[in-house]
Amino acid sequence: MAIGEKNVMVIGGGIAGIQASLDLANRGFTVHLVEKSPTIGGRMAQLDKTFPTMDCSICILSPKMIECARHTRIKLYTYSEVVGLKGSVGNFHVKVLKKPRYIDEAKCVGCGTCTEKCPVKVPSEFDMGLGMRKAIYMPFLQSVPRMVTIDPERCLYFTKNVCKVCEKFCTSKAIDFKQKPAEMDLSVGAIIIATGFDLFDASIIPSLGYGKYKNVLNGLELERLLCASGPTRGELVRPSDQREPKSVAFIQCVGSRDKRFGYPFCSSICCKYAVKNAVLIKQHKPDTEVCIFYQDLRVFGKGFQEFANRSKSEYGVKYIQSSPGEIRERSETGNLEVWFEDTVASEVRSHEFELVVLSTAIAAPKENQGLAKILGIELDPYGFILAKNAVTGIFDTTVEGIYGCGYCIGPRSGDVPDSVMQASATATRVAEVLTSLE
């Protein structure tokens, strides 16, 4: 095999990207894992627990992240993006742009002193805007690679030519304000895209109050509040007053199964994570009133219906088959008045909740648009990667040699094992294609 053919690029360092990288590296391929954020880990790092086993998400993820970092055949390019592509299967030439961290990667030991001293606080993307990070930061404690990054749009040195406190206190002399972006040309035989997903922005539905009312959150925001590494150290407190909510409502199908906003499909994962989070809340504080407003409870697969049943019998989670029509805020308390029809009693009424969590549709990550243009692949009408054959070739994109796995090809049954399974299947596919080119 020519040099290029033994090399594979994986774009996206979430669980799918990590799994595909490990599978291919273990088979003897050299993997170039490109991730746009400063660390690999993706959405799974943001989750508190995974269902239905209720394992700590980061605890199962970080060993794999470290394995990636240490693997002799995996080259990590974090804080980097794919900017150009030439060639064809077996012989791709990919241009990768490494954005400047303004940190000498060889010197930074991840001690965190600079972060402590930095005076600038910025809403943390990792914490979904519910917590703060600094202008010099590590997205989360288990970041891989374990080093900081300077955000030039917020750093006082870059914006106002003052400060430089980080440089003053760094004992490793790792700060390098003069660092430039670096462009690399990588020769690879195949490319796997694993760019994950974004969440539908529910503020486009005014009747639900997302974006307007402080105590209306989406699923990922709730995960960050429940997570021990989150902005509230795992205390479920509501954004408006930092008090623990006595009642929480989950609203399913927000954006999904809806012809109006571009997500007419079922997002597959939301009923499952709502049940999981409902149980988590009950485990935190058993006397919290937790209601899930659902249309259909889609918890398919081994273990899930049982989990949903236990949530009712053991934890007392309430289920109401109804999609609420309106949410109104009581401005004095920040509580939400949820108007719905109790479809069993055929009665329209309202119930006050202290916190509302919207299970929003799974959306294609915005990066897919730009990436599709660079790679020459087609996207489906929802922005997910279009499969060459929806039945027998779901991991194949419309360009030979380029594949997709995980959420970026669309939500399927959706949970973490599913993404892992897809990643392994895609890795096998790539290995098959590349070895057959010999």
Binding site: P206, S207, R328, E329
Partner: protein, 284 residues
């Protein structure tokens, strides 16, 4: 800009003050109004409930008259606007319906051609919002206004494709005359007017809920752009007082009146006579 002006039947009969003010305000902003002569009922939702083709031919005949005049139609009532826009968009798109309607129209020598647009005065004013700002002589500083655009302005399906007349449009117009547009949770709620004559009890309970929300928002007045909504919220307060013993004393104005005052016009007593809740404080 010239418009085929459709006045409807409620306004001439019951709110001539609103008509008089409209006929002063719009021309002073450069909007020329040419009355549609010989217009018939627009076929509002109540008539639409009775018969589909009955609605379409009634609406279509008026559109034909406007087409012959050669200008877009201007409506100052939400119900008229809804009926015409829905009919206009439908007849433009659906050939089968158009053929059937034209067959009926031919009995009176008319033909729907799909040549014009139907506009509500709110969208016309918003399109030329700078005109208002330029003519602002008397900004309504510190006036807290709650906008009530009305259901048939913001929600008919027919306008979803064209423009989505959001509540922001009306808020923009309130801000443009120097007043403060106050947000409140039930802004998109119906006034309850359509159930008048069918079930007055539910109708007044709905207007009461709306009035309660408006009062709770702490506003100086409510602005409407539909004579039905106006009547329901203004005259409706008399009823709410009688049946629920609740006195809101909330001035309800037509946006046109606030606009008129802001551009320096003065109104006569008889022009403001339609108001049941006194408005001297706001418009005097």
């Amino acid at each position: 800009m010239k418009y085929s002006f459709y006045i409807g039947c409620l306004i001439p009969a019951m709110e001539p003050g609103y008509e008089s003010i409209t006929r002063k305000v719009l021309p002073s902003l450069g909007l020329e109004l040419e009355d549609i002569k010989g217009a018939n009922c627009c076929a509002p939702f109540s008539i639409q409930s009775l018969d589909y083709y009955g609605w379409l031919v009634l609406a279509a005949r008026n559109i034909c008259l406007a087409e012959k005049m050669g200008h877009d139609m201007l409506a100052i009532c939400d119900d008229c606007f809804e009926s015409f826009t829905a009919a206009n968009e439908l007849l433009k798109k659906d050939k089968e319906a158009r053929d059937k309607v034209n067959a009926l129209l031919s009995d009176i020598g008319e033909e729907f051609k799909g040549l014009i647009e139907v506009k509500h005065v709110l969208e016309v004013l918003h399109e030329d919002i700078d005109l208002i700002k330029m003519n602002l002589r008397n900004p309504l500083d510190k006036l807290r206004v709650a906008a009530h655009p009305g259901c048939h302005l913001v929600r008919p399906k027919a306008i979803h494709q064209r423009i989505r007349l959001g509540f922001d449009v009306m808020d923009d117009l309130v801000t443009a005359i120097g007043a403060k547009a106050i947000d409140y949770p039930q802004k998109d709620m119906c006034c309850g007017g359509p159930l008048r004559g069918v079930n007055d009890e539910i109708s007044r309970r709905i207007s009461r809920e709306k009035l309660k929300a408006l009062k709770a928002a702490g506003v100086d007045c409510v602005a409407t752009v539909c004579p039905f909504c106006f009547r329901q919220l203004d005259l409706g307060q008399v009823e709410v007082k009688r049946y629920f013993k609740e006195d809101y004393s909330l001035p309800v104005t037509h946006y046109m009146e606030l606009l008129g005052k802001a551009i320096g016009l003065k109104f006569t007593e008889s022009e403001l006579a339609d108001h049941k809740v006194p408005v001297e404080r706001i418009l005097g």
